[in-house]
């Protein structure tokens, strides 16, 4: 008995799509559309263009699936397509707007949780403000898209040491901000 499609990992789905089960590609769209849409919003700043961007990226990914060799995660490969598509579309990387700028903070029953999220966002926003415009996307990829340093290097083409130093600086600012937040809460 074969496992339910929902439980398949990305690489297995890719292999089966290449073998002809193209309808399984919908699972990859469902899994990764949120991240691609987020990237689209950062570059295009409106939902309509971001929607077109998502379709464009997934169509490109589908057509080029045979070139996915499985050496990296499917998400890394997909984000590279998305990043290159977006950069080519907007021409200038400086038009990028971080998710930290307008991320919605969900309502939490616990005010401390909400305060910590606000502090996190503020720290990342401050760190991003201090970065050269073209490197801002690195922090988003690290903090919001859960990419490792080598994965960010693959997606953006920036040297891994540059990415590391920017992320480290942002983490130091986050640490300070969270520490301030904790001190503020003390009676």
């Amino acid at each position: 008995m074969s496992p339910a499609p929902d439980t398949l990992d990305d690489k297995t789905i890719v292999a089966r799509v290449i073998d002809g089960e193209s309808e399984l590609f919908a699972l990859l769209v469902k899994r990764h559309q949120k991240a691609v849409f987020g990237l689209g919003l950062s570059f295009f700043k409106n939902t309509e263009d971001s929607g077109d961007f998502v379709q464009d990226v997934f169509l490109k990914a589908y057509r080029n699936l045979p070139s996915f060799l499985g050496k990296s995660k499917f998400s890394t490969w997909l984000y590279r397509i998305a990043y290159n598509t977006a950069v080519n579309a907007v021409k200038r990387r400086r038009e990028y707007q971080s998710l930290a700028e307008d991320a919605e903070i969900p309502d939490f029953d616990d005010p401390q949780q909400k305060a910590e999220r606000e502090a996190s966002r503020e720290a990342i926003r401050d760190a991003i403000d201090e970065l050269p415009e073209r490197y801002r996307v690195c922090l988003d990829f690290y903090f919001f898209y859960d990419l490792s340093y080598p994965e960010i290097e693959v997606v953006t083409g920036f040297p891994v040491n540059t990415i590391k130093s920017h992320v480290f600086r942002a983490k130091a600012m986050l640490r300070e901000k969270l520490r301030d937040e904790a001190e503020w809460e003390l009676p």
């Binding site: 379709q55 997934f58 998710l99 640490r175």
Partner: protein, 153 residues
């Protein structure tokens, strides 16, 4: 002072940690003994975890629209040649064209048959280069039309 320095070092190590990577032994020992650093490490971990979970915007479901577009596409692009391989072949072709007049074989042919063979040789090399360029452009039409703004909606 010494303890403060250790806390500072521990804090820096926590900030430097990548993904699920383990902290250095001395930092782990320090954290076990220092409640403030333990709280700080946990707070950092929680903050980063929640950013990864909560901060991406909500997205509409594009799967139906993408799949209907896929059904209209001709199919997967099979056996693609990587851009690096294309570039490598192009450079080799250019290098061979440029360097061939410098070789001993070329000199021998020239001294034996005279310079009359240069015309057909250049025609052959020109055809090879033209063929390469035509294949390269033909297999990268999408990229070229996108970069040169030739796509019409």
């Amino acid at each position: 002072m010494g303890a403060a320095m250790t806390c500072e070092h521990a804090g820096k190590s926590i900030a430097k940690r990548t993904g699920d990577g383990r902290l250095p032994m001395f930092v782990r020992l320090h954290i076990q003994r220092c409640p403030a650093c333990l709280v700080e490490a946990k707070r950092m971990e929680d903050a980063i975890r929640t950013m990864r979970r909560d901060f991406l915007p909500r997205s509409p479901d594009f799967s139906a629209i993408v799949m209907s577009a896929i059904r209209l596409t001709p199919g997967l692009e099979t056996t693609p040649v990587s851009f690096r391989n294309w570039l490598f072949v192009g450079i080799m072709l250019l290098a061979a064209t440029g360097l061939s007049p410098l070789g001993a074989a070329f000199e021998w042919v020239k001294s034996t048959f005279g310079t009359g063979f240069l015309v057909p040789l250049n025609i052959v090399l020109g055809l090879m280069l033209a063929g390469y360029c035509a294949l390269f452009i033909g297999t990268h039409l999408d990229e070229f039309s996108e970069r040169l703004n030739l796509k019409h909606d």
